[in-house]
Structure formats: structure tokens, C-alpha cells
């Protein structure tokens, strides 16, 4: 697979604050790549640097091998779907979609035909002659998508395009976007702070925090094999326990749990013997007669499909367990002492 975008040691500073600390990434052709992180992590800045709205202070951005980092946005063959859509309010829907084609010098008849096809694709043919203000949020979003796709970019940049939509629409659009990406064969670079959005759509995800890429991997990689506390905590729910690492051999470590029990577990790269954090997903623990940890039940939270059991380990740390709400399960009562069994391989030792 060829590389669509290659970012090398990208640095962006605003005055004395550094928004991007030497970021390097490779995004493959035809990939649905997501930049995920909390607000202020630099994900939007990175996207804007790729689009050309911001200039890098240092580093390169290569698009299919060509350095584009110093080009003006109108000379970069990428298109963007903006967070608030940024539709041109004085143009009809059709004119909006045809704008990029017009700028590329396509004749009126050709661009009208192509824009019409794009509107068909997003099921908005009936709205071609409306003004953007006459459309609902979801419709505007699809116009923005059609407008950005019309000039057939090699790479489409999407800046939190679903964040302004309500939940139902957002969920439907996730599927539509993913299908569209697969059918068109265009590389999508998608920015979001919503981990569920990232997990459901992406081929690969770059988790960002404080201007740095923390981890790059598939949804499964970053959920099941987080490299550090930030990733483990940001993606899904987890229990973080401070443990003592006795020995490390390759990707496996022997650790001593707070209660004194010893277990063997997979470890992230760079773990040395000493104090480290162990991440244990709450759904991969079960209540059993015997287990590696001992806890006292504090409260049981009913979540419909799931139950959340909030406990305290006998050594004091808060710990929660999630289980499916099945009729046959006998539930403990608050105050009960329970043993917690960690699923094979479910505990993961983190680098920091």
C-alpha cells in the first residue's frame, strides 16, 4: 500500500506555546485515519496544517511524495469538511457544490452535471436550488461533504464533521461516511474527540495529547494494548493499579499486585522492573470464588444492558467491574467481600 500523507517532525508554535511537538505520521492510501484526542491536544491544528490554513514552523508534510508544507491552501490537492460546514450563504446548494469545480476551470454544463451527481450521492438532489440556510443541520453537513468531494481530492480532511448533529443522525452518518470512504477509495483524515466515533469508523487511529502522538494503531490495538496511562484512560474505561514489576522478558512481565498476588501479564515496550501502572478493563474481570484481587462491594449501578459494580480493593484502591445484565447472575450486595478474577491476558502493564 502506498503512502498518501507523510508527516515528518512537524512542529507548530503559537508564540511561546507549542501546539505540535515534532509529530511524525504516515497515512496510507485509501485509509480511514482518525486523529483522536481531547480538546486542545493539537489534532485540529495538525489537520489545519495539512489543509494549509496554518503553516508549520518546522517539518515536512508530503502528499504522495511531494512536500506541500509551504504551499497555499488553494494549491493543495486536498479538500476539507469544516466543523460548522462553512457553506457559502449567498449561493445555492448546487452552486456551493460546484464551487471547487468552477475554481478548477470546469465549464458550467460539466460542473453542474457533476455537482448534480454529488448531490444525488448524498440524497439531496431535491434541494439543489435551496439556499444553505433553508436546510437542516444534517442536510448542510451532507452538502459540505458533497462540496468537498466534488473536485475528487486524493485526500479528504474532516474536522469534527459530526459534532453538531444529534445522536441518532450522528450514528447514521458514521455508517454512511465509512461506506462512502470505502466506495470512493479516497483517503480520509478524520478529526474527533469522540472515541466511539473513532473506534467505529477508523482503519487506524492516532491518539493525541498535549501536542504529541501517544499511540497509533487499529481500534483493537489502542483499546486492548494501550501503551501508556493516557491512552488506557482516554479510550474506554479502565482500572489503573500501581504495581511492582519483578521481571520483564520481552513483552511479558511478572508483577506483584497490591494484595501480594503475583501474575504474569503482557507489557508495553520500555517497561523496566520497578513501580508501574497496570490497566485492567472493567468488562474483563469476573466475580468468582477465588481471584487475584479481593474487594468490598460498595454500590451496584444498573445500566440496562450492563451492570457496573463499584468496589474498593481490600488494599484501598477504587476498582470497578462491568458485567452483562444476565438473569442468572447472583449479585453480591453492598458490603459483601468478593474475589475478582482477571481474565487471561486482560491486565496490561503500561510504560508510564
Amino acid at each position: 500500500m502506498s503512502t498518501a500523507i507523510e508527516i515528518r517532525s512537524a512542529v507548530k508554535r503559537y508564540g511561546t506555546t507549542t501546539a505540535l511537538h515534532s509529530i511524525s505520521l504516515e497515512i496510507a492510501d485509501n485509509e480511514f485515519f482518525t486523529l483522536l484526542g481531547p480538546s486542545g491536544c493539537g489534532k485540529t491544528t495538525l489537520l489545519r496544517c495539512i489543509a494549509g490554513f496554518e503553516d508549520l514552523n518546522e517539518g515536512e508534510i508530503r502528499l504522495f511524495g511531494r512536500d506541500i508544507a509551504r504551499l497555499d491552501p488553494n494549491h493543495r490537492p486536498v479538500n476539507t469538511v469544516f466543523q460548522q460546514y462553512a457553506l457559502f450563504p449567498h449561493m445555492t446548494v448546487l452552486e456551493n457544490v460546484a464551487f471547487g469545480l468552477k475554481m478548477k476551470g470546469m465549464g458550467l454544463a460539466d460542473r453542474t452535471a457533476r455537482a448534480g451527481k454529488m448531490l444525488e450521492m448524498v440524497h439531496l438532489s431535491a434541494f439543489a436550488n435551496r439556499m444553505p440556510a433553508q436546510l437542516s443541520g444534517g442536510q448542510q453537513q451532507r452538502v459540505a461533504l458533497a462540496r468537498a468531494l466534488a473536485p475528487e481530492p486524493k485526500v479528504l480532511l474532516l474536522d469534527e464533521p459530526l459534532s453538531a448533529l444529534d445522536l441518532k443522525l450522528r450514528q447514521a452518518m458514521r455508517v454512511e461516511l465509512k461506506t462512502l470512504q470505502e466506495q470512493s477509495g479516497i483517503t480520509f483524515v478524520f478529526v474527533t474527540h469522540d472515541q466511539e466515533e473513532a473506534l467505529t469508523m477508523s482503519d487506524r487511529i492516532a491518539v493525541m495529547s498535549q501536542g504529541r502522538v501517544q499511540q497509533v494503531g487499529s481500534a483493537r490495538d489502542i483499546y486492548e494494548a494501550p501503551v501508556n496511562r493516557f491512552v488506557a484512560d482516554f479510550i474506554g474505561e479502565t482500572n489503573l493499579l500501581e504495581v511492582t514489576v519483578d521481571t520483564v522478558s520481552g513483552a511479558v512481565a511478572k508483577v506483584t499486585l497490591p494484595g501480594g498476588q503475583k501474575i504474569t501479564c503482557p507489557a508495553a515496550q520500555g517497561v523496566m522492573p520497578g513501580k508501574h501502572h497496570l490497566s485492567i478493563r472493567p468488562e474483563r474481570i469476573s466475580l468468582a470464588a477465588e481471584g487475584e484481587l479481593e474487594a468490598v462491594v460498595e454500590r451496584i449501578v444498573y445500566l440496562g444492558t450492563d451492570l457496573q459494580i463499584l468496589t474498593h480493593l481490600t488494599t484501598g484502591e477504587a476498582f470497578h467491574v462491568r458485567m452483562q445484565n444476565l438473569a442468572r447472575i447472583a449479585l453480591p450486595a453492598p458490603g459483601d467481600r468478593v474475589a475478582l478474577q482477571i481474565e487471561e491476558g486482560a491486565a496490561r502493564l503500561l510504560a508510564d
Binding site: A51, G52, F53, D72, P73, N74, H75, V78, N79, T80, F82, Q84, A86, L87, F88, P89, H90, F99, G100, M103, K104, R147, A148, P151
Partner: protein
């Protein structure tokens, strides 16, 4: 009634909203009274006076006649007994006024748009300071400002003196009593009326639109032409109207900075109500013709605008 912010569109909703709507009528009474006394009544008086007969030492005789309008448009010879031909004197003055006002408006636009753009793109805090600075000259009376301008540009004023001192010119530039001086005066008087509405429009402008245009391969120049100008157009139009209309009727700048060759409508009307040389019905008729002209321009514009919106 604190906290009842006038919400537009969807309405306040609930009891508060309904109460607010009931209050609108009474709250508008002062406005209607003001408009009635200071706008409708004077215009009606003016209309009536334009059809009266001139009294010898100013004032009017209550005999209804079309003489004022006749005098404006037609020339019947020195003794009024020749076959009428079109009287060009006043039409020329009108045409000159329109021209002067149009040039002043264009200069205001050329200077005002970048100024408004500059202010609107400053950080919010310094924006307030810039806007404040724009209004500072207006603390001084217009008459005094216009006279000062004359002192600045006269033959031995600081402008000519300094230009001669650095050897750029050997004789003073004849600035006073020229069209240029009048246009300069109008520009100076009305620039803020151009800056403020454009500022308001640019301040509301969503700069993501410019980014979107650049993203879709538009150059800066094309973005300005295809996106920025159409979106802020209402502000530009408002500014042009606010400058053009008062420029058209202005009499201070033409009087003080211009000469006989730059005589404008405002001065013509002004003259008709001064002392024994005056002619009240004729002044009123000229004012009515000016007003009609302005109204026609505005109505044509409003119609074009409605058509564009109905598209």
C-alpha cells in the same frame, strides 16, 4: 422588565414572551411621536410650501401655484413671456451634486472598507479602541472641522507650505474652491458612516468561509470577489447610502471649500431661506425634488434586492 432580551425569530416563548409582545405597542409611542413631529410634519409643510407663492422679503403668500417647479425646470425668458425651454441651471447643479456625492462615496468606500476590515480583524479588546478613535474627530463641530480643513489646504496652509519646503512643488497647489476640495470635505465629514456599517458586516463575517474558498482552490483575489464581497454586501450598501444621501444635500463643505463652480443642491436650498434674497417656495420645491430623487434611488435598490433574495 430586566432579563427580557428581545429575541428575534423563534420568539421568547412562554408568558414572558407574550407580555413582551403586548408591550411593543406602548413602547413604540415615543418613536411614533418623534417621527410624526420631526419627520412627517416638516415634510408635509415642505410639500405644501413648494406650491405656495413667494412673498417679496422671504416667507409665502397662501396662493397655490406651480411657479416654483416651473422655475426649476423651465426658462420662459427674462420677462416670462417667451415659449418655455428647459432651464439647465438647476438641473446642472443637481447633476453636479450627484456627481460630487458619488465621488465622495467612492472615496469613502475605497478608504472605509480596508479600515473597517482592519478594525474587524483586530482582537476584540483593541477593536473597541480603534472604533473609539474613529469617532474622536466627531466631538468637534462639523463647521469647525470644515473650516480647519480649509486652513490646512489653502495656498499658504501647512500642506502647501510643507510641500514647497521639501521642494516637491514651486507654486502652491490650488486646492481651495475646487471639486477636489469639496470631495475631500465630504469624505472627511462622512467617512465613519461608511466604516461603521462595513465594520459591523465584516465583524459578523465567518472567516471559515474564506478558508473553505481557499480549500476549494480559490485565490485570495477570487475569494474576495466571490465570497467576501457578496457576503458583506449589505454593510457596503448601507455605508454607501449613509454617505451618499447626506453628501447629496450637504452645504457646509461645498460652501466653505468650494466656489461658484462647485455650487451644490444643499447651498442652493440654503440660499433660498436666507434673508430677502430668498425664495421659500422655490427652496421647498428643490428640497422636494431632491427627496424624490433619493427615494427613487432607494426604491430601485430595494426592489433589486428583493428580486435577488426571492431567487
Amino acid at each position: 422588565m430586566a432579563g427580557m432580551a428581545p429575541e428575534s425569530g423563534t420568539g421568547g416563548g412562554g408568558k414572558a414572551g407574550l407580555g413582551y409582545r403586548k408591550l411593543i405597542g406602548p413602547l413604540l409611542v415615543p418613536t411614533w411621536v418623534m417621527i410624526g413631529i420631526f419627520l412627517v410634519l416638516p415634510v408635509m409643510l415642505m410639500a405644501v410650501y413648494s406650491f405656495l407663492t413667494k412673498e417679496f422679503r422671504g416667507g409665502v403668500v397662501w396662493d397655490f401655484t406651480l411657479a416654483a417647479y416651473d422655475q426649476f425646470f423651465l426658462n420662459r425668458g427674462l420677462f416670462g413671456d417667451e415659449p418655455p425651454v428647459i432651464e439647465w441651471t438647476y438641473i446642472t447643479i443637481f447633476w453636479r451634486s450627484i456627481w460630487q456625492a458619488a465621488v465622495a462615496t467612492l472615496i469613502c468606500l475605497a478608504v472605509g472598507f480596508p479600515t473597517a476590515w482592519f478594525i474587524a480583524t483586530r482582537p476584540p479588546k483593541s477593536r473597541a479602541i480603534w472604533l473609539f478613535l474613529i469617532t474622536v474627530p466627531y466631538w468637534v463641530n462639523l463647521l469647525i472641522r470644515t473650516v480647519s480643513l480649509k486652513f490646512l489646504i489653502r495656498d499658504n496652509g501647512p500642506l502647501n507650505e510643507s510641500l514647497m519646503a521639501i521642494g516637491l512643488i514651486s507654486d502652491p497647489l490650488p486646492l481651495v474652491n475646487t471639486n477636489l476640495a469639496v470631495q475631500l470635505g465630504l469624505f472627511y465629514s462622512y467617512l465613519p458612516f461608511m466604516v461603521l456599517p462595513i465594520y459591523a458586516a465584516v465583524e459578523r463575517y465567518n472567516f471559515a468561509l474564506s478558508e473553505a474558498a481557499a480549500d476549494l482552490y480559490a485565490s485570495r483575489w477570487v475569494t474576495l470577489r466571490e465570497i467576501v464581497l457578496p457576503v458583506v454586501k449589505p454593510g457596503i450598501i448601507a455605508g454607501c447610502i449613509l454617505v451618499f444621501v447626506p453628501s447629496l444635500g450637504a452645504f457646509l463643505a461645498p460652501d466653505l471649500l468650494g466656489g461658484a463652480k462647485t455650487f451644490m443642491i444643499g447651498s442652493l436650498i440654503d440660499e433660498q431661506f436666507r434673508g430677502s434674497q430668498g425664495n421659500w417656495p422655490f427652496g421647498a420645491a428643490a428640497a422636494m425634488i431632491l427627496m424624490t430623487l433619493v427615494l427613487i434611488v432607494l426604491m430601485v435598490y430595494a426592489r433589486a434586492q428583493n428580486k435577488a433574495e426571492a431567487r
